[in-house]
C-alpha cells in the first residue's frame, strides 16, 4: 500500500451503497422466509380444489369463504378454541398482573421461589407439562374436557403475564405512587388512576401473549382435552383424511386479526413516547 490518501467523496459513496444493497437482499430473504408459509396458507384458502387433498393449485375461488361454516364439528372446535382463549386470557391476565405487581414491587418470604416457579412453568417442555397435568387430573378424578383445557391454559399463561408485568413494574419509579398517596389518593384510587395505567403496556403485552399461546396450543390441550376438540386438534385430526380449505380460511382470518392487533399496538406504542424527553 503506497497510497494512503483518503478516497474522494464521490467514490466514498459507492462501497457504502453496495453494502446497503447486500443488507437489503438479506433482509428481503429473511422476510420471505418468514412470510412464505403464511402466504401459501392464505393462497390455498382460495384454491378451487375438488378432491380431498388441498396440495395442488387448481384455480381461484371464493367458495371456501362462502361455505366457511359448513362443517359443524369444525365450527364447534373454533368456538371452543376462541372461548377458551378469551376466558384463559381474562383469568390469567388478572392473576398474572397481581402476581407480577407483587413480585416487582415487594420483597417477601417466598418471593424468590415464586419467581423461580414462574420461570420453570415457562421453560418446562410442553410434553412434560401436558403429561403431568393429565396424571394430575386423573388422580383428582376430574373428567377431561372443556374445564381441564381451560385450567391448563390459565396455568401456563399466568407465568407469561406475570413475567411481562413484573418487568414493567421493576422499571417504575416508586415515588410516582408515593406522590399519588401524598396527594390524597387511597389504595384503590391509586391503583386505578396511577399504577394500572402505568403498567398497562405490560398487561396488554401479557394478555396478547396469553391469547396467542392458548389459541394455538396443541400439545398440552391434546393431553387434557378428553372428548372436547379445539381448532388445532381438529386440524391435526383432519390431516389423516385430507384438510379442507376452510382450515386455510380460518387460519387466514386468525392471522389477519393477529396482524391488525399487532399493528394497532405497535402504533399506539410509537405514539406514546414514554422514554423520550423533549427539551
Amino acid at each position: 500500500m503506497t497510497t494512503r490518501t483518503r478516497p474522494a467523496p464521490a467514490r466514498r459513496g459507492t462501497p457504502r451503497r453496495r453494502r446497503v444493497d447486500g443488507l437489503h437482499a438479506y433482509t428481503l430473504l429473511l422476510i420471505g422466509w418468514l412470510i412464505l408459509p403464511v402466504a401459501i396458507m392464505i393462497a390455498f384458502g382460495f384454491n378451487d380444489v375438488h378432491g380431498k387433498q388441498n396440495y395442488r393449485w387448481e384455480g381461484f375461488t371464493l367458495r371456501w369463504y362462502a361455505h366457511l361454516l359448513d362443517k359443524d364439528d369444525l365450527v364447534t372446535a373454533v368456538v371452543n378454541s376462541l372461548t377458551i382463549a378469551l376466558l384463559s386470557t381474562l383469568l390469567s391476565t388478572v392473576a398474572g398482573t397481581l402476581a407480577g405487581l407483587a413480585l416487582g414491587r415487594y420483597r417477601f418470604r417466598g418471593g424468590g421461589a415464586t419467581g423461580l416457579l414462574l420461570l420453570m412453568a415457562i421453560s418446562c417442555p410442553e410434553v412434560v407439562m401436558g403429561a403431568s397435568l393429565l396424571s394430575m387430573f386423573v388422580t383428582f378424578g376430574l373428567p377431561r374436557g372443556y374445564l381441564t383445557i381451560l385450567l391448563a391454559h390459565v396455568m401456563f399463561s399466568i407465568a407469561f403475564v406475570a413475567v411481562t408485568v413484573r418487568a414493567r413494574v421493576v422499571g417504575l419509579d416508586p415515588a410516582v405512587e408515593e406522590a399519588a398517596r401524598d396527594l390524597g389518593a387511597g389504595p384503590w384510587t391509586r391503583f386505578r388512576l396511577v399504577t394500572l395505567p402505568m403498567i398497562m403496556p405490560g398487561v396488554v403485552a401479557g394478555a396478547l401473549l396469553a391469547f396467542v399461546l392458548s389459541i394455538d396450543d396443541f400439545v398440552i390441550t391434546g393431553f387434557t382435552s378428553g372428548a372436547t376438540v379445539t381448532f388445532p386438534l381438529w386440524v391435526y385430526g383432519s390431516t389423516r383424511t385430507g384438510t379442507p380449505p376452510q382450515v386455510n380460511v380460518l387460519g387466514t382470518l386468525i392471522f389477519a386479526v393477529g396482524a391488525v392487533v399487532t399493528a394497532v399496538t405497535a402504533r399506539r406504542g410509537a405514539r406514546a413516547p414514554d422514554h423520550s424527553r423533549a427539551w
Partner: protein, 385 residues
C-alpha cells in the same frame, strides 16, 4: 403510642404553634437482619411560614426525616407533630403536607393540568374551582399555556415546576421538598433557587427543604439544620452556621474552613475566652461557645474562615490574633486570590483576599508572612480529634 395528647397539644399563649415539630424522632431500618439507625434522635421545630433546610451529606438521615414527616415512614421512636397534632399512624394521604420529590414523580400518562388537579380532585373540590386554582398555580410557576402537554414533552426545569405546582395547589400547611433541584444543571438550579424563594414568599407556606448543597441551603433558608450520621450537628440561621460552626463537621461541610489546634495557655472572662500559646510566633485568642468547657493545659481546636484572615509582612497590632507562616501557593481566582500558608502553629491555612483593586498580590510563594484576624471571627469548637 400514647393517646394522652389530643388535638392542640401545646397551648402556650403568646407562642405560635410550630408548623412541624419533631420530638426525639428515631428511625432504624432492618438491613439483612441487622438494625441500621438512619435517624438517631432529632428534635426540631419549624415555624409557620418558615423556609427551613435540612442540610447534610448523603446518608445523613435528612431524607428519612422528611419521609417521616410526609408519612411514608413511621418513626421507630419519638413523635412527629404537625401544627401541634401528633400524626403517628396517620397515612400520607391524610396528612396536611405535600411533597415535591427528587425525581419529580409526575404521572406520565396525565397532562400537566391533570397532574396539578390530581390532589384537588381527590378532595372533591368543585370543577370550576379546580380550573381556577390550577390555572392560577400554573401562572405562578410560569407554565400557563402548557396545560395539555405530557410531562415527557417538558424540559427538566418545567417538569420540576409542575411537581411544585402539583403540591402547592392543595395549599398544604407545609411543603416538603426532597432535593428538588438535584437533577438540574447549575445555571437552572441557581435561577430556580431564586424562583423557589419568591414563590415561598408569595404563597406564605412553610417549606421544609432537604439538600446536600450548602450553597442552596445558605441562599434560600431562614434556618438550617446541619445533619450528620442521623443527628443534628447544628441548627441556626445561615449566618450563624457559617460564621459560628459548632462542630468540626459543620466547619468542614459548609464552605472552606481553617482548623487550628493548640494548648490553652489562659482562660479569661469566666471561661468565655481562651488564649492559645504558640510561643513567639503567634498569639491566638478565641471566644468559647456556651456549653464548652476549657481548662488551662488542655488542647483546643478553633475554626476560622479564609476570608476573615489578613495576610501581610508585619506583625499584627495588639488585640488581633496572629500566626507566622510561609506561603506555599498563590492562586488567582478573579474576585479573590487564595493563599496556602504553612504556619508555625502546625496547620496549613487557606486565606482569601478580595481583589478590590488591581494591585499586585499581597505575598508571593516562599514569602514569610503574618496571618492576622479579629478574635471575634474565630470560634472554639472543642478538643481536637
Amino acid at each position: 403510642m400514647t393517646e394522652t395528647q389530643p388535638a392542640p397539644a401545646r397551648d402556650d399563649p403568646g407562642r405560635a404553634v410550630p408548623a412541624i415539630e419533631l420530638a426525639g424522632v428515631e428511625k432504624a431500618f432492618r438491613v439483612h437482619g441487622e438494625h441500621v439507625a438512619a435517624v438517631r434522635g432529632v428534635d426540631l421545630e419549624v415555624g409557620q411560614g418558615e423556609f427551613f433546610s435540612l442540610l447534610g451529606p448523603s446518608g445523613c438521615g435528612k431524607t428519612t426525616t422528611l419521609r417521616m414527616i410526609a408519612g411514608f415512614e413511621e418513626p421507630t421512636a419519638g413523635e412527629v407533630r404537625l401544627h401541634g397534632r401528633g400524626v403517628t399512624g396517620v397515612p400520607p394521604n391524610r396528612r396536611d403536607v405535600n411533597t415535591v420529590f427528587q425525581s419529580y414523580a409526575l404521572f406520565p400518562h396525565m397532562s400537566v393540568f391533570e397532574n396539578v388537579a390530581f390532589g384537588l380532585r381527590r378532595r372533591g373540590v368543585p370543577k370550576g374551582e379546580i380550573r381556577a386554582r390550577t390555572g392560577a398555580m400554573l401562572d405562578l410557576v410560569d407554565l400557563a399555556g402548557r396545560e395539555r402537554r405530557r410531562p415527557s414533552e417538558l424540559s427538566g426545569g418545567q417538569q420540576q415546576r409542575v411537581a411544585l405546582a402539583r403540591a402547592l395547589v392543595n395549599r398544604p400547611r407545609a411543603l416538603l421538598l426532597d432535593e428538588p433541584l438535584g437533577a438540574l444543571d447549575l445555571k437552572l438550579r441557581q435561577s430556580m433557587q431564586v424562583e423557589l424563594k419568591r414563590i415561598q414568599r408569595e404563597v406564605g407556606i412553610t417549606f421544609l427543604y432537604v439538600t446536600h448543597d450548602q450553597d442552596e441551603a445558605l441562599t434560600m433558608s431562614d434556618r438550617i439544620a446541619v445533619m450528620n450520621e442521623g443527628l443534628i450537628e447544628q441548627l441556626g440561621t445561615p449566618r450563624e452556621i457559617y460564621e459560628r460552626p459548632a462542630t468540626r463537621f459543620v466547619a468542614g461541610f459548609i464552605g472552606t474552613s481553617n482548623l487550628l489546634a493548640g494548648e490553652v495557655g489562659e482562660v479569661t472572662g469566666g471561661g468565655s475566652r481562651a488564649a492559645l500559646s504558640f510561643g513567639p510566633d503567634g498569639r491566638v485568642e478565641v471566644p468559647v461557645r456556651d456549653g464548652l468547657r476549657v481548662a488551662v493545659g488542655e488542647r483546643l481546636e478553633l475554626t476560622i474562615r479564609p476570608e476573615k484572615i489578613g495576610i501581610g509582612a508585619d506583625e499584627p497590632a495588639d488585640g488581633l490574633c496572629g500566626v507566622r507562616g510561609t506561603v506555599t501557593e498563590v492562586v488567582y481566582l478573579g474576585t479573590s486570590t487564595s493563599y496556602n500558608v504553612t504556619t508555625s502553629a502546625g496547620a496549613d491555612m487557606v486565606v482569601f483576599q478580595q481583589n478590590a483593586t488591581s494591585a499586585d498580590d499581597a505575598a508571593a510563594r516562599g514569602d514569610g508572612v503574618w496571618l492576622s484576624w479579629d478574635p471575634l471571627h474565630s470560634y472554639a469548637i472543642g478538643a481536637p480529634r
